[in-house]
């Protein structure tokens, strides 16, 4: 059940970060097109901008690049029935609500529980989904029939969720232990691996996971919880709200509502289990997008790191003690601190310092390139120093200046010596770019996490991601070695 913090994100902090990111982006770019509609006339033929979360399966998530889920399907079906158009903006939960408050979107549908506090600011539709928490166990486990069989066992729940509070509230009564994890997908894995015997999670999330063939089954009844509603700003867009309610009633009456819900939550025995091949074809577009982002951020960062690394490498061998000190400090600073610290600093800290949001690409490139530059500076220093000093003397004795001599004589030879280390550094940077998922940068591993957060096929998805990384790195190595042979004869 989703209040504000129980979506299906990889971790709670990364969800918070992603939400913050999107909020910032929303503020920077503005959300065009959405103007609060006058509340009197009909919705016929109009286009409404609707905000939603990024990934909260089964309500909204991406499949093959397209936004799907119960919320999305319901909203589109209702719009269809009522003759209006919707333009969906996948902003993140908090960012969507902010956008609604500032009239940048007309409504929000995001698996949002109807609460009294929210009712003070927003007008809600009739509830379109009844949530709750439920317990599930391994499909092949026949020993556990109910809570009373949990004596002395371990139950896993999601940190900070309603499932966790519910599990803890009955733990003493039934004599089980509760451990908490951050992601639904990893909770399910731990039940299948046997580290926990059961999981207590949001009912729709759990049902969807089972429908996706996560290998679990439910054994207890759902404990009723919140109801989800569609929201507009208080007193605004009343026609839209009314149309939503009418459309919803129509769908419920015709059975289409149940069809949509079943599509995501029905037991897998009815649905054909999807094969590895299906998973591959479904996830490949998103993963390729992630790979492309990974390659671009790595490539740009490497280019910047080369320039900075050369500069600091030269400072490092300069005769001037101050310049040498500057270079040494730079190298020590970035080699002596984890990349993640800088990713957070450039994305969040810097934004606060300069009072302006930082583009995630800028933050990503700064993080990777400054770290890479520190290592490249050392590679450059070592490369230059390993060139026989007689080379520089010979060039200088011909009357060439220091700069010209370095450029024509020393650096070409240094590069030849440096090339294997530089290729190595490039590959390290490519792998390090996966750390940027922590600030919500949509690189390859991030996309993988988004995918298994929606389909719960953690191992297979990670296997695919791993293979893509491996192939990309092998290809890159081959390419770099080819270039090395070609230019460093």
């Amino acid at each position: 059940m989703k209040n504000s913090y129980s979506s299906l994100r990889p971790t709670r902090w990364s969800r918070w970060i992603a939400t913050a990111v999107l909020a910032m982006m929303a503020m920077v770019v503005g959300i065009p097109g959405a103007v609060a509609q006058p509340s009197d006339d009909s919705v016929e033929g109009k286009t409404f901008v609707i905000g939603t979360d990024t990934t909260f399966a089964p309500f909204e998530f991406r499949q093959g690049g397209e936004l799907v889920g119960i919320d999305m399907d319901l909203l589109r079906a209702i719009a269809d029935k009522q003759g209006f158009n919707v333009e969906i903006r996948s902003l993140g939960f908090n960012a969507a609500l902010q956008a609604l408050s500032s009239n940048q979107v007309d409504g929000v549908i995001a698996g949002m529980s109807i609460t009294d506090e929210r009712k003070e600011v927003y007008d809600f539709s009739e509830p379109y989904f009844e949530s709750g928490v439920q317990m599930a166990i391994d499909r092949n486990n026949d020993d556990i029939q109910g809570y009373e069989d949990l004596e002395g066992k371990t139950v896993v729940a999601k940190t900070g969720s309603e499932g966790e509070s519910y599990a803890k509230s009955i733990a003493d009564e039934y004599g089980f232990r509760v451990t908490s994890l951050d992601q639904s997908a990893t909770m399910y894995e731990s039940v299948k691996a046997g580290t926990a015997v059961a999981v207590v999670d949001d009912y729709p999330v759990l049902a969807y996971g089972i429908a996706q063939g996560n290998g679990l089954k439910t054994v207890t009844e759902k404990v009723p919880g919140g109801s989800y509603g569609f929201a507009v700003n208080k007193g605004q867009n009343t026609a839209l709200l009314a149309a939503f309610n009418d459309g919803l009633a129509e769908l419920q009456a015709s059975g289409e509502y149940q069809q949509i819900v079943d599509e995501y939550l029905a037991d897998p025995t009815e649905a054909a289990p999807s094969t590895f091949w299906d998973l591959l074809t479904q996830s490949l577009p998103a993963l390729m997008k992630g790979l492309s982002n990974t390659l671009i951020v790595t490539g740009v960062s490497f280019a910047v790191a080369m320039i900075l690394g050369l500069a600091f490498g030269f400072l490092k061998i300069s005769n001037n003690i101050v310049l040498r000190g500057v270079a040494t400090s730079f190298i020590n600073l970035f080699r002596g601190t984890p990349i993640l610290v800088w990713a957070f600093f450039f994305y969040f800290g810097l934004a606060q310092l300069i009072g302006q949001t930082v583009n995630i690409w800028v933050a990503g490139v700064l993080t990777l390139s400054l770290n890479g530059a520190a290592y490249i500076a050392e590679i450059v220093r070592g490369g230059i120093q390993s060139v026989d000093p007689g080379q520089l003397e010979a060039s200088r004795s011909l009357g060439l200046g220091y700069g010209r001599s370095m450029q024509k004589v020393v650096i070409p030879q240094a590069f030849k010596i440096m090339t294997p280390s530089l290729i190595n550094q490039l590959i390290i940077m490519l792998k390090d770019s996966s750390l940027l998922l922590a600030i919500g940068f949509a690189e390859l591993l991030y996309q993988g996490q988004q995918i298994y957060a929606a389909n719960f096929r953690v191992t297979e998805t990670l296997l695919i991601v791993g293979i893509i990384y491996f192939v990309a790195i092998m290809a890159l190595t081959k390419l770099a070695n080819f270039a090395d042979r070609r230019f460093n004869k």
């Binding site: 007689g390 080379q391 010979a394 060039s395 004795s397 009357g399 004589v409």
Partner: protein, 252 residues
């Protein structure tokens, strides 16, 4: 006796006065006076560590000079305002270990300075490189890489390279010491031809026979000072200083 005067062959091309050079607290050159006239060939001999290389390297300021004055081809090398790159174009230098640029072909090694310093176009520089290679008998090696050459061939290319800017002075620092004995001759032959053409040269060498043959004057250095100098016949035939006698008795 440390005052070496020109032998009247021409105006002085190199004038060294009171040259001092220290590495830290180690004073390697302790006041050298020397003059080399135009067209003169001076051989510098002396025991290892006596400062011969350092003296040579001070002449084109590959080493910073601690004290005294060095005037080369009219340029005061010790003057901080002098364009040292300009001076070096007038002074060719040949190193014991050749120091050819391994990433360039033989011709490119020779073309580098004329092209980079905008003295010649690429095509002109190539023509000049081929001429110089012809002079040292290696025209057919123009497009070879230095790594494929023998030691003697490398040193001949290095000589051709240092001639590319048409210097008026040539400095040789033990140009044959790193060579196998059978290759020494071919390099000495090239040096001798240069001497015969009237090139002003300072050679640090261990080839006493060659020094006797080619030098106008021989300078014997010991412990950072010029111990004795004179025409080869005198210095080798009738050395005055005990240190010179001692040294010659060991090497001859």
């Amino acid at each position: 006796m440390s005052d070496v005067s020109a032998n009247g062959k021409g105006a002085p091309k190199i004038t060294v006065k009171g040259l001092r050079k220290s590495f830290g607290s180690n004073e390697v050159l302790q006041g050298i006076d020397m003059e080399v006239a135009e067209g003169e060939v001076v051989c510098v001999i002396g025991p290892s560590g006596s400062g011969k290389s350092t003296l040579l390297r001070c002449l084109n300021k590959l080493e910073d000079i601690t004290g005294g004055t060095v005037v080369v081809d009219g340029f005061d090398v010790t003057d901080p305002k002098v364009d040292i790159n300009e001076v070096r174009r007038h002074v060719g230098m040949v190193f014991q270990h050749f120091n050819l640029f391994p990433h360039m072909s033989v011709a490119e090694n020779i073309m580098l300075a004329p092209v980079e310093l905008k003295k010649l176009s690429k095509a002109q520089a190539r023509t000049r490189a081929l001429e110089l290679l012809d002079r040292v008998g290696l025209k057919e090696k123009a497009d070879a890489r230095p790594a494929s050459l023998s030691g003697g061939q490398k040193q001949r290319v290095a000589i051709a390279r240092s001639l590319a800017m048409s210097p008026g002075i040539m400095l040789f620092d033990e140009a044959t010491s790193a060579l196998d004995p059978e290759m020494v001759g071919e390099v000495l032959q090239v040096i001798k031809e240069l001497a015969d053409e009237g090139m002003t040269m300072v050679l640090v060498t261990h080839e006493m026979g060659f020094a006797r043959e080619v030098a106008d004057r021989v300078v014997f250095m010991a412990d950072g000072v010029v111990c004795e100098s004179g025409p080869p016949a005198d210095l080798f035939g009738n050395p005055q200083q005990p240190r010179t006698q001692d040294f010659l008795s060991k090497v001859l």
